[in-house]
């Protein structure tokens, strides 16, 4: 029996009276990497925001383990769930300070940074290759560098659940793979529960335990990432083919247009 980390229960959310999501039931399992894929505007980001308390459902409830997230204390929630957003706002702030701000939910509003805060900030910058950027202002960075800093911020928050909306946007392909390897090792070594939204189907297919396919505000398939049913669903929606490549006993999947 799988343990459930986040559960959306009969959730409806409307924007300007247009229901974006209607009566959705969805669970994210503990200790797994679950990736949501789907065409633009299918409601992926809305699900992410509902799961991270940035939006509140009009109807239904969202649970973290067995607690309803709407009634949890803000900081308590932020110590359990960290979120990487697709954000257009670039803070006017030094990289090191931005990463350190990930420690905010673990501090009192007026306390100074503890040794633990500093250690985790350093660790987060090391893991995301941000150390050489530490004194630079966020506004001086390239899109890829900035994305790495945001990821470091989320890492410094040191939460059992990480929700990452498009963590590989703006990144070169090699850096994308490095980040996905990092996410993978966080999951395997530290047992973190990870929820992703990914555009890149190849990354989604190869780095996820489970795939949720969304279309028009609904989850149309939700299976193991290697399950052919989910592959067929993706093929239909995105009009691509998915093939398996076996190399040294390991299976890889790739999507392409015939």
């Amino acid at each position: 029996m799988m343990e459930i980390m986040i559960r959306l229960e009969d959730v409806t959310y409307s924007y300007n009276r247009q229901p974006l999501i209607h009566g959705m039931d969805l669970t994210f399992e503990k200790g797994k990497i679950t990736t949501i894929v789907g065409p633009n505007g299918c409601g992926k980001s809305t699900v992410i925001k509902l799961s991270s308390r940035l939006l509140h459902p009009d109807k239904g409830k969202v649970f973290l383990e067995n607690k309803e997230i709407g009634v949890m204390k803000r900081k308590e929630f932020a110590r359990s769930v960290s979120v990487l957003l697709q954000s257009s706002h670039i803070p006017d702030m030094a990289v090191e300070d931005a990463v350190m701000s990930g420690r905010y939910p673990h501090q009192t509003p007026i306390s100074f940074s503890s040794a633990e805060d500093k250690r985790l900030t350093e660790y987060a910058m090391e893991m995301t290759y941000c150390q050489s950027l530490r004194s630079k202002n966020m506004r001086q960075l390239s899109g890829g560098e900035r994305q790495r800093v945001f990821l470091a911020m989320v890492l410094a928050q040191d939460t059992p659940v990480m929700i990452l909306d498009e963590p590989t946007t703006y990144l070169d392909i090699n850096v994308s793979y490095e980040i996905m390897e990092l996410i993978n090792s966080l999951n395997r070594k530290l047992g973190k529960t990870i929820v992703l939204v990914l555009h890149d189907l190849n990354l989604a297919l190869n780095y996820s335990d489970r795939l949720a396919v969304m279309e028009n505000g609904k989850v149309v398939a939700y299976e193991e990432a290697s399950d052919h049913r989910v592959h067929r669903c993706i093929s239909d929606i995105f009009k691509v083919d998915i093939r398996r490549l076996t190399e040294k006993g390991k299976s890889y999947y790739y999507s392409f247009k015939l």
């Binding site: 803000r74 957003l85 706002h89 202002n137």
Partner: protein, 330 residues
Amino acid sequence: MERNNKARLLILLSTVGLAVSVLMGLCLGTSNIRPTVLVATLFAGEPDDFLYRILLTVRLPRVTAALLSGSALAVSGAIIQSVLNNPLASPNIIGVNAGAGLFVLLASAFLPTDPLLLPLSAFSGALLACMLVLAITMTGRLSRVLLVLTGFAVNSIFSAGMNTIMILYPDAYVGAGNFLVGGLSSVTSNVLVYPSVFIAAGFILALLCSKGLNILNLGADSAKTLGMNVNACRCAYLAIAAILAGAAVSFAGMIGFVGLLVPHGVKLMIGQDNRYVIPASALTGGIFVILCDLLARTLFLPYELPVGILMSLMGGPFFLYLILKNRRKE
């Protein structure tokens, strides 16, 4: 760590600069006193000494008033700029000073005279203006310049109110002409007592909030994911800005632009970290108004210019420069 050293250096230098400015403010004026004589006179403390009386009743309150109002408005400006995420915002631009001023005049016209009443009513007026602007900004995405225009409208309403009271109740506020442009010539030590308590409290609160202000700089959504109650914090921080600006306006009148110029200059020098920006703004704001006031009362001897006029002469062009610079960015 290099950034922080720069910030610490600025704080150190401006502490020294503030001491020098206070000394200059006390020594220079219609008659100049040597620093040695100043120290000797103050330590002797002869109540019959003419020089001692001048120092104690005129120059000391005046320099104190300049220091308090400059620091308070500069810190208030730094907070407002962070909360509204807008480098063009400051207490005078978004109508906070005008709100405070209107309530000061209303209180002087209609309520019994009480030294505590003026700073309290100034605070209420400043808070009203802050919340008005915050409410308007929360209705949707306002561009930087649009926010300034909103402030301009709020400002005009309050200023019209002030002028109406001035005309209907010309005796309500002693030295009202000075009040409207911002001047320190009628300040006595009595009127400074309560405002200085307000300002001291405001500084402590501002320092305590500096970390939260930094989190707000990340953007509202990021601040929320870090567990901050963004709307409550915005209101609380603006209330602190209102305490500071209100207390300053209650005795200094409509002193403008220090709340814009000083935090902006400080941020250009040391960056956005509010843990440093707030103390550095307090110190340099004090220096700035002490020196401006010194100029205002010595430049055209025997005449005296209200310090607010002098600051508007400098601040106006600077503000235009900021608008042009921002327009290029947008």
